[in-house]
Amino acid sequence: MTDTKFILVVEDDPILKNLLGHTFAGKYQTLYASDGNEALALFEQYKPSLVLLDLMLPTMGGFEVLQAIRARTDAHKDVPVIIVSNLGQESDMEKARSMGATDYLVKAEVEIEEIVKRIEAMIASPQTPATA
């Protein structure tokens, strides 16, 4: 019996959230947040092992959430963060990478299957080198 591993999914579109939930149900303990503030509050409470993060969010955007996570002082600051966004410009990807995103997927271009694969790969070897 291992510790329960939580995955935090930050997604503001309810339909996309449901579709992800449909696939994740039974696979992971999933937490859902639909904006940045909610995401950070849930992060604080549950210390998830992985975050799927959208970028265009109401109130507080994904980049800020990523920044806040990477700015933590505890061990959770290095949690894998996969950006799953429909912003797909090279500049967005570069910005996310420079801010410490572990992976970047353009939502419309991937199937949920692919997202699951990435999650599996990261949960299997969760410790990525610390990025400042």
Partner: protein
């Protein structure tokens, strides 16, 4: 030759002419002048004349030199120096786009002041147009990336829902429907991606991902991809591989593939059934050259200079049923030029059709 050189030349020429003229005049008048004196005074008169002429010359040279220096000084300060500074500012503007500082032209001749003021106006105009252009291109690029984002979100929902549906127990015909819908969904996503790529390439801010690869392998791959399409259109598609393997090039493979896709798509589209599309590739010392030769409807003279313009579609292209958006060749050429190469075309000399030639530089 500069203004000052020209001035010096004029001065020396005038001086030489003046000296020659005086000597000639003296020699001419000497005979007649001497007739006024008794012959025993001639030697004395001759000496006096020589001294007179000598002094006259020295005085002339000194006077002209002083005058020349004065004119030089004035010209330098009033014309040459301000001109040079204006030219420097112009150069700086044309090279780096920096406005530079114009000299203080007060007290210079009217023409110089006019030049400076006209130039200042011109720079202001160019700058205004440029800022306007930058702004338009920014707005356009923002608009397209927002639109792309807006398109992608519902598309994601459609694709993910179909993906989930696919996992349900479905009959064969239901499955076929889901598969078609998925395929079309993917096409739409790709189109949105292309739209974004085009925007970024067009804005000149695109980051190419360079790698080293063999163009002949890429051509074979693309030719292979197009074989079914050519078959459907009853066009014979050949890739005549050169005997010697082509050298490797350093380029963005996906973008070069995009150009080749475009060229082949056009070639097949505008070639009537029964025609031929032939791809050839060779290398010179500095370039590799890929030629796509078709036996199609050709490009009319009036369209020749325009087909690389964005959104341009040749008159005889519009009448054909096709989905061209008029951006393909424009973007293709932009990509080729960004790589230091070029994309061009020529009408076939013997027989109908057109040959497009893509050339790319070899790594040095």
């Amino acid at each position: 030759m500069g203004i000052r050189g020209l001035l010096a030349l004029i001065f020396f020429a005038t001086l030489a002419l003046a000296v020659g003229f005086i000597y000639g005049l003296v020699a001419f008048l000497k005979e007649r002048l001497f007739e006024l004196f008794p012959p025993d005074l001639w030697p004395q008169a001759d000496t006096a004349l020589q001294i007179l002429v000598l002094y006259g010359m020295v005085a002339l040279i000194i006077f002209t030199t002083i005058l020349m220096l004065l004119v030089f000084f004035l010209m330098s300060n009033l014309i040459v120096r301000p001109l040079k500074e204006i030219i420097k500012a112009m150069l700086q503007f044309s090279r780096d786009g920096e406005k530079g500082t114009l000299p203080n032209v007060e007290g210079t001749p009217r023409e110089i002041r006019e030049l400076a003021s006209v130039y200042t106006d011109l720079v202001e105009k160019v700058d205004q147009v440029h800022r306007h252009d930058v702004e338009i291109s920014r707005v356009k690029s923002d608009f397209i990336s927002t639109a792309a984002h807006q398109l992608r979100t519902p598309l994601t929902g459609i694709r993910w829902a179909l993906e989930a549906l696919e996992k349900e127990p479905l009959t064969e015909s239901q499955m076929a429907l889901v598969t078609s819908a998925k395929e079309k969904g993917k096409d739409l996503v790709d189109t949105v991606g292309t739209l974004l790529d085009i925007t970024s390439i067009e804005s000149g801010k695109h980051k190419y991902e360079y790698s080293v690869f063999r163009i002949d392998e890429l051509i074979a791959e693309v030719a292979n991809d197009f074989a079914p399409h050519a078959g459907q259109s009853q066009v014979s598609l050949y890739y005549a591989r050169s005997e010697a393997p082509l050298p490797e090039i350093r380029a963005d493979r996906n973008r070069i593939k995009w150009i080749l896709n475009n060229l082949l798509e056009n070639a097949i589209r505008y070639t009537p059934a029964g025609g031929t599309v032939r791809i050839m590739a060779d290398a010179s010392e500095k370039h590799v050259r890929v030629r796509v030769h078709d036996t199609g409807i050709g490009i009319e003279d009036k369209d020749r200079s325009n087909i690389f313009e964005r959104f341009y579609r040749a008159g005889n292209a519009i009448t054909k049923q096709n989905q061209g958006n008029g951006l393909g060749l424009y973007i293709s050429r932009t990509i080729a030029m960004d790589h230091g190469g070029d994309l061009n075309f020529a009408s076939n000399e013997n027989g109908p059709g057109t040959t497009f030639t893509l050339s790319l530089p070899l790594p040095r």
